[in-house]
C-alpha cells in the first residue's frame, strides 16, 4: 500500500505533530520505504494463529484493594510548563 502525502498529513494530525512542508515530503518517502519493507509480513500464513501482545503472557495480576497516598499536588505540578498551584493551564479551549 503506497503512502501518499495526504496520508502523512492525516497521520500527523492523529499523532499531534506539526510537520513542515519539507518534513511532510521526507516523511512520505521514508515511511513509504519502511512500509514497503514491512509489507513482507503479508506473505506469512497466520491462519489460526493467536495474536501475541506480550512476551510473557501473565494475566489477571491483582493488587490489594487498599487506598494509598498519591503524588502530592505540589509535586505533580512541579514539572508543568504552566500551572496556577491548583491545576495545569492550557490555551483557551472555548470561543475566540
Amino acid at each position: 500500500m503506497a503512502i501518499t502525502r495526504a496520508d502523512v498529513e492525516k497521520v500527523s494530525l492523529l499523532a499531534r505533530l506539526q510537520l513542515t512542508s519539507a518534513e511532510l515530503e521526507t516523511m512520505t518517502s521514508e515511511l513509504g520505504q519502511i512500509v514497503a519493507y514491512v509489507d513482507q509480513l503479508a506473505e506469512v500464513d497466520t491462519t489460526d494463529v493467536e495474536p501475541m501482545a506480550h512476551a510473557v503472557e501473565v494475566s489477571n495480576v491483582f493488587a490489594a484493594d487498599q487506598a494509598r497516598a498519591s503524588l502530592p499536588r505540589e509535586q505533580a505540578l512541579a514539572n508543568a510548563p504552566r500551572h496556577n498551584q491548583r491545576g495545569y493551564l492550557v490555551p483557551p479551549v472555548l470561543g475566540d
Binding site: M1, V35, V44, H54, V90
Partner: protein, 511 residues
C-alpha cells in the same frame, strides 16, 4: 581528532574491587575518585555522559566508607560506581532521555532499578548518553551530543545504550545500566567490546523506566566481564508489585554459580544467521568462538528459526505502535517541553486571516484549535527526527484501515517467532551467533537511511519479541581493531545458564 584509542581495561574488575573494599584495602572514595579522574580526562572526547554527579558520588562513597569502618552492614555493591542510562527516573537528578522534550524534567520519584542500586549502596556516578527515547542504534539520535566508540573515535559506539557501553569500554565506570528494546544493550556492548545482558522480559522491574515499547523494554547490566554483569543483574532483578508485568519468581544467586561450567552443553547455531550480509571477519570470529566451545566439550547443532527473517518487519510495526501510544503523554501540559503560547496563537490568527481572505471555508473549519496547535507545536519542537518518524509509523500502523494488515498481523507473526524459539530450545540449551552483521561503522555513515539502520537489528530483535534473555560478549577483533561480539540466547528465565555458558568461553580465552 586523530584515530586515538581510549579503550581501557582497569586493573580491577568490579568483583575484585568489591573484595578489596570489603577487606578495607581500598576505600570507596579512592575508587570513585579514580573513575572521576578518568572521566575528567577523557569524557570530553568520548561523550559517554550527559551528566556526571561527581559531588554526590563522592559524598555517597564517603558515607559508605564511614559505615564500613564503623562495622555497620552495607549493601551488595557497597562502594562500586555505577553509571545509569538517562532513561531511568532518579529523583535526585534530571532524567532527559537525551531529548529536548525532557531537557528539564526532574522526576518526582525513583525508578525501582535506581532505588535498588541505592539500597545496594552503589555509587551513582552519572547519567549516560543514548539515542533519544532509546530509538536508534548509534547514539547519534541524542539531542545533546554524540558518543564516540572508545576503540576508534571515528566510529559510533552503537545504541541506543551507546553511552552505557562506551563508559565501561573507556574505563570510566566499572558497571553500567542500559535498556534493551530491540538490541539496545547487546548491540552497543558488542560494538564496544564489553559484556551486555538483556534479561527475560519481566525479570527486572520497568517501574520508573521511561517507556518506549512496553511489551519489549527490559533493563539490564553492562560490564567488563560476565561475573561483574552477574553481580549487577543479581542486584537489580526481582519481583516488583509496582510493575504488573514483573515476574514473581525468585532470583537465582547468579554470582555463586557462574564459575560452574555447563556439562554436556548443547549449543545451537541458527542457519539463517550465517546468510548473505554477514561480514567475513565477524563470521570468522563467531565460528572461532564455536570451536572454543567444541573444545570445551559442547556439541554444536545447526537449527532453524524459519520466521527470523520477518523479525525486523514485525519489530518495526510493534515497537513504533507502542511508542506512538506511550509518547502521546508528552503534550506540553503535564511535564516536558511546551511551545511558546503567544507565538502559536499569533500564528493561528494569521492563518485564519489568510484562509478567510481566500474564502477557504473548509480550511477554516479544519483549522487546529489553540489547544491542538499547542500539542502539535510542542511535540514538533521537543522531538527529534527519529522519534517523529517512529511516532508517525506507529500512528499509521494503528490507524483505521491498517490495523489488521499491520499491527494485528505483526502480533501473529510474533507468536510464530516465539514458537520457533520454543522448538529450538527443545533441542539445544543455548543459541550462539553474531550480535550484529558488521563491526562498528563510521560516525554519520548511516544517517539519512533509516531502513538500513533498522536492518542492523536483525540478530537482536527476536529475543525482545520472544521475551527471552540474550547476552553479548567480546569474541575478537577485526584487523582494524574493532571489537566483535558473540551473542548467546537462552530460554525465558535462563539467565543462570546464559551467564555460566558465557563464563566458560571467557575463562577459556582469557590470558
Amino acid at each position: 581528532m586523530t584515530n586515538a584509542m581510549l579503550a581501557f581495561h582497569p586493573d580491577l574488575t568490579a568483583s575484585q574491587a568489591l573484595a578489596l573494599l570489603t577487606r578495607g584495602e581500598l576505600s570507596a572514595v579512592e575508587l570513585t575518585q579514580s573513575y572521576l579522574e578518568r572521566i575528567a580526562e577523557h569524557d570530553a572526547t568520548v561523550g559517554a555522559f550527559l551528566h556526571v554527579a561527581a559531588e554526590a558520588a563522592l559524598a555517597t562513597a564517603a558515607d559508605i566508607d564511614s559505615r564500613r569502618r564503623a562495622g555497620q552492614s552495607v549493601g551488595q555493591l557497597a562502594g562500586l560506581p555505577v553509571a545509569v542510562k538517562d532513561v531511568l527516573c532518579d529523583s535526585r537528578t534530571r532524567t532527559t532521555c537525551a531529548s529536548r522534550m525532557l531537557e528539564n524534567f526532574q522526576p518526582p520519584y525513583d525508578s525501582t532499578v535506581v532505588a535498588k542500586l541505592r539500597a545496594a549502596d552503589a555509587v551513582l556516578i552519572g547519567r549516560t548518553n543514548m539515542d533519544e527515547f532509546a530509538m536508534g542504534g548509534s547514539t547519534e539520535n541524542s539531542a545533546f551530543q554524540i558518543t564516540r566508540n572508545p576503540w576508534n573515535l571515528q566510529c559510533i559506539p552503537g545504541g541506543s545504550s551507546g553511552g552505557a557501553a562506551a563508559c565501561v569500554a573507556a574505563g570510566m565506570a566499572p558497571l553500567s545500566i542500559g535498556t534493551d528494546t530491540g538490541g539496545s544493550i547487546r548491540q552497543p556492548a558488542g560494538l564496544c567490546g564489553v559484556v551486555g545482558l538483556k534479561p527475560t522480559y519481566g525479570r527486572v522491574s520497568r517501574f520508573g523506566l521511561v517507556a518506549f515499547a512496553s511489551s519489549l523494554d527490559q533493563v539490564g547490566p553492562l560490564a567488563h566481564n560476565t561475573s561483574d554483569a552477574a553481580l549487577l543483574l543479581e542486584t537489580i532483578a526481582g519481583h516488583d508489585p509496582q510493575d504488573a508485568t514483573s515476574l514473581d519468581t525468585p532470583v537465582p544467586p547468579y554470582t555463586h554459580t557462574i564459575d560452574q561450567p555447563l556439562t554436556g552443553l548443547r549449543l545451537g547455531i541458527v542457519r539463517e544467521h550465517f546468510a548473505e550480509g554477514l561480514h567475513p571477519e565477524v563470521e570468522a570470529a563467531v565460528r572461532g568462538a564455536l570451536e572454543v566451545y567444541r573444545s570445551l566439550g559442547a556439541t554444536i547443532k545447526e537449527i532453524s528459526l524459519p520466521h527470523s527473517k520477518y523479525a525486523v518487519a514485525t519489530y518495526y510495526v510493534i515497537a513504533p505502535s507502542e511508542a506512538s501510544s506511550n509518547l502521546a503523554r508528552y503534550d506540553g501540559v503535564h511535564y516536558g517541553h511546551r511551545a511558546d503560547e503567544s507565538s502559536l496563537l499569533a500564528e493561528l490568527a494569521t492563518e485564519r486571516k489568510q484562509l478567510a481572505a481566500a474564502g477557504d471555508q473548509e480550511g477554516l473549519d479544519n483549522q487546529d484549535t489553540g489547544l491542538v496547535r499547542m500539542y502539535r507545536r510542542s511535540r514538533a519542537e521537543g522531538f527529534g527526527p527519529e522519534v517523529k518518524r517512529r511516532i508517525m509509523l506507529g500512528a499509521y500502523a494503528l490507524s483505521a484501515g491498517y490495523y489488521d494488515a499491520y499491527y494485528l498481523k505483526a502480533l501473529k507473526v510474533r507468536r510464530l517467532i516465539r514458537q520457533d524459539f520454543d522448538a529450538a530450545f527443545a533441542e539445544v540449551d543455548l543459541i550462539a551467533g553474531p550480535v550484529t552483521a558488521q563491526p562498528a561503522w563510521g560516525l554519520g555513515e548511516m544517517a539519512g537511511d533509516p531502513l538500513s539502520m533498522y536492518l542492523v537489528d536483525l540478530y537482536t530483535v527476536s529475543a525482545n519479541l520472544a521475551g527471552i534473555p540474550g547476552l553479548s560478549l567480546p569474541c575478537g577483533f577485526t584487523q582494524d581493531g574493532l571489537p566483535i561480539g558473540l551473542q548467546l540466547q537462552a530460554p525465558a528465565l535462563g539467565e543462570e545458564t546464559l551467564l555460566r555458558g558465557a563464563r566458560m568461553y571467557e575463562q577459556a580465552t582469557s590470558s
